[in-house]
């Protein structure tokens, strides 16, 4: 695959009328998201290095501070799983905002990867009567329980299937990722997702420089531009370095559990072993790696 890439880039460079630049420095140095940049999945190591350097430079110019863009690959023998204890969640939405800060979502217009739904205890899990915009003095409110929804990292992801250009795929560690520089913004994946997990940048994302999280991953929380789709990646920039996702860390009631499904001693395996779990919309055969359970 790597053999064919330089020729493709050269061809596109020629099309763009920058053959001279291509022969010396490589196209991707020109802007942080070059028009002729190839798909991350098919880039050679040299090309990745090149592109990352370009991104870091562009972000330095845009935000006035050093931003690292990691390209850590999946770890061997790791497949991530998530478990959320519905009986503990109090609906405080701290996870929502921790996620926004960690993953550099747009503050204006607001983009949020986690949506906390308030549901009636009498109705059970019933999306038709759920309310994502509850405005409460104090949570939890009487008669209600809370169901946070984010990307379910499906084993059989309908979004990946629908993408016409292969800009989104499932990595070896089970994380469904998006190449923001390859996405054409057609939003097929958003129509295909049964969980409302995917979000589109309708406008240029606004993030105050002082709020920008400078530790990023290419396939995760690096700053995006307008016109592309984004979503939860289990905080790929953290979990591939052995850390917990931000939402797990911030949860004040310990409702969120995370770990390696292949490790028999992991917390998430303990949940699967000892609690009865539930996945959303199991009838759609998406096989989420995000489990809900009643811990109490």
């Amino acid at each position: 695959m790597n053999q064919t890439l330089p020729s493709r880039r050269e061809f596109l460079c020629a099309v763009a009328g920058c053959a001279a630049a291509a022969s010396t420095a490589g196209c991707s140095d020109l802007t942080h998201t070059s028009w002729f940049q190839s798909r991350f999945r098919e880039m050679s190591d040299a090309e990745k290095k090149d592109v990352v350097a370009g991104l870091e430079k562009a972000n330095k110019e845009r935000f006035g501070k050093d931003v690292t863009v990691g390209i850590e690959p999946p770890m061997e023998g790791v497949e991530f799983g998530y478990a959320l204890d519905i009986s503990r969640c109090i609906g405080c939405r701290r996870c929502v905002y921790a996620c926004v800060e960690e993953n550099n979502q747009s503050r204006e217009p607001q983009v949020q990867w986690i949506r906390v739904l308030e549901m009636d205890k009498e109705k059970g899990i019933d999306f038709a009567h759920a309310d994502a915009y509850y405005d409460a003095e104090k949570v939890p409110r009487d008669g209600h329980f809370y169901l946070p929804v984010q990307c379910q990292q499906c084993e059989n992801p309908p979004c990946v299937k629908s993408c016409p250009v292969g800009a989104t795929w499932r990595e070896k560690d089970g994380i469904v990722v998006i190449d923001y520089d390859w996405c054409i913004g057609c939003r097929c994946c958003m129509s295909a997702c049964p969980y409302g997990a995917r979000h589109f940048n309708y406008a240029e994302p606004q993030i105050p420089a002082e709020q920008l999280n400078p530790k990023t991953h290419y396939l995760g929380n690096r700053p995006r531009g307008k016109g592309v789709v984004e979503k939860c990646t289990f905080c790929i920039q953290r979990v591939r370095k052995g850390r917990y996702p931000a939402c797990v860390e911030v949860c004040p009631v310990g409702a969120r559990k995370f770990g390696n499904l292949l490790d028999p001693d992991s917390e998430v395996r303990a949940v699967l072993e000892n609690k009865r779990v539930y996945v959303l919309k199991s009838e759609l055969n998406t096989r989420p790696r995000f489990f809900y359970f009643y811990g109490l």
């Binding site: 999306f127 299937k161 292969g166 057609c186 939003r187 129509s191 997702c193 589109f200």
Partner: protein, 419 residues
């Protein structure tokens, strides 16, 4: 080489023809150009600010643009209704207008392409779709399939029309061995573009309103109503404003066929309504939103009832032989069915499919001013393309525009040559 020389003369002659016209022609063309200019300006703004200039949001992430795209795929597919009787049954009077159907198909596909282009966030990344350069996700992605079939259909129709018109221009009889297989192939191709477009929605179990196997048949049925309605009106306009002769019998035949397709369209709608209403599962919510609204969210309700009323009224007008042969009631019927299908595909298919969204939220969508102007601009491009093509095709078919040296055709020869 001779062919090449003829072709350059043909192209130059065509340009001369479109640059010649009376006051009405230039008024029409200027009006279209003005609308294209306004739409273009709104599109430039959309490119600068992003799709925030539309009223689409995460909850309703496909809407008016994609609805128009879907409607126009139907119009493009409808050329087939004229091709079938003309070539399969070898029914003479209709053949003269098949070429119009194909020109309409070309203009529609051009509009389809534009509607998709304005809908995507990064149109400049179009090359990601080109196999070899980019990556066309076949066979898994339905949009990838749609790219293939729509472009294929466009090329097919351009080839057929160019070949037929160029042959006539040279005073030659088109070679049946060349064009007949192409024309016959355009029948399944027309079905394919509509089926694949339907599957684009149909294959999404996340959206129960679309994930019903009746969807593709309904697409075909409604296309076979709206497409010919446009053609019937165009045929009458051409007859009025050019020397182009179109037999009344051709118009009546198309109208009769439309009575069948309109019945089928209503029947399939009825079947879907029955299944949803009688089952009364939670999935009824989409149809409830469409026809009755949910709470204060009733923006599309009047459009949906208008759509149903127009479709039923048009069906009755086309069903009764007397009214479908009367030019006034025929044209009223054409306009009604066109409105009926346009509202149903433009608003009634896409928006209720996403309202409420997958997590039950209701975001009430209605197109923004920018979306409406951009759509008007795209329709104007389509009308302009169609106008220019008809402007060239008509004198060729009338034998007035001929290669130097090619014999001026008589009416009899003309009909013979066209087939």
């Amino acid at each position: 080489m001779a062919t090449l020389r003829y072709f350059s003369q043909f192209a130059a002659g065509s340009v001369r023809i479109v640059l010649r016209g009376n006051v009405w022609y230039w008024l029409w063309v200027s009006a279209l150009l003005v609308l294209i200019g306004i739409g273009g300006a709104y599109y430039v703004r959309q490119l600068q600010l992003g799709l925030i200039t539309t009223n689409m949001r995460d909850q309703v992430s496909w809407a008016f643009y994609i609805g128009n795209f879907t409607f126009l795929v139907g119009v493009a597919a409808a050329a087939v209704l004229l091709v079938i009787p003309a070539y399969v049954y070898n029914w003479k009077p209709i053949k003269e207008v098949v070429i119009l159907g194909e020109l309409l198909a070309i203009a529609s596909i051009v509009m389809c392409g534009l509607f998709v282009t304005v809908d995507i966030g990064h149109p400049e990344r179009f090359w990601h779709l080109i196999p070899g350069l980019g990556l066309l996700n076949l066979p898994r992605s339905l949009l990838a399939w749609d790219v293939i079939v729509l472009n294929g259909y466009l090329v097919l129709n351009v080839v057929i029309v160019t070949y037929m018109l160029f042959s006539l221009y040279r005073g030659r009889q088109p070679n049946k061995k060349v064009f007949l297989p192409l024309v016959l192939f355009s029948i399944p191709a027309a079905i394919a573009i509509h089926t694949v477009t339907a599957f684009l929605y149909n294959g999404l179990p996340a959206r129960p309103f679309w994930n019903q196997s009746i969807l593709a048949p309904r697409f075909i049925a409604s296309a076979l109503c709206s497409g010919p309605a446009v053609l019937l009106i165009l045929m009458q306009l051409l007859r009025r404003f050019t020397r182009f002769e179109i037999d009344d019998r051709a118009i009546w035949k198309v109208a009769e066929l439309m009575a069948y397709t309109m019945f089928l369209n209503l029947f399939l709608l009825g079947a879907e309504v029955f299944k949803d209403v009688y089952s009364n599962t939670e999935h009824l919510v989409f149809m409830r939103y469409m026809f009755f609204g949910i709470g204060e969210h009733t923006a599309i309700v009047p459009y949906m009832w208008s759509s149903v009323a127009c479709s039923i009224a048009a069906f009755l007008l086309f069903l009764i032989p007397k009214t479908r042969r009367n030019p006034v009631t025929l044209n009223i019927g054409c306009v009604l069915i066109w409105i009926g299908v346009y509202l149903e595909k433009g608003m009634g298919l896409v928006i209720p499919g996403m309202t409420p969204d997958t997590l039950g939220e209701i975001y009430e969508y209605f197109p923004s001013r920018s979306e409406l102007w951009i759509a008007a601009g795209i329709f104007s491009v389509g009308f302009l393309v169609f106008t220019l093509m008809v402007k060239v095709a008509t004198p060729i078919m009338l034998g007035e525009f001929r290669a130097p040296g090619a014999a001026e055709a008589t009416h009899g020869e003309r009909v013979a040559m066209a087939h």
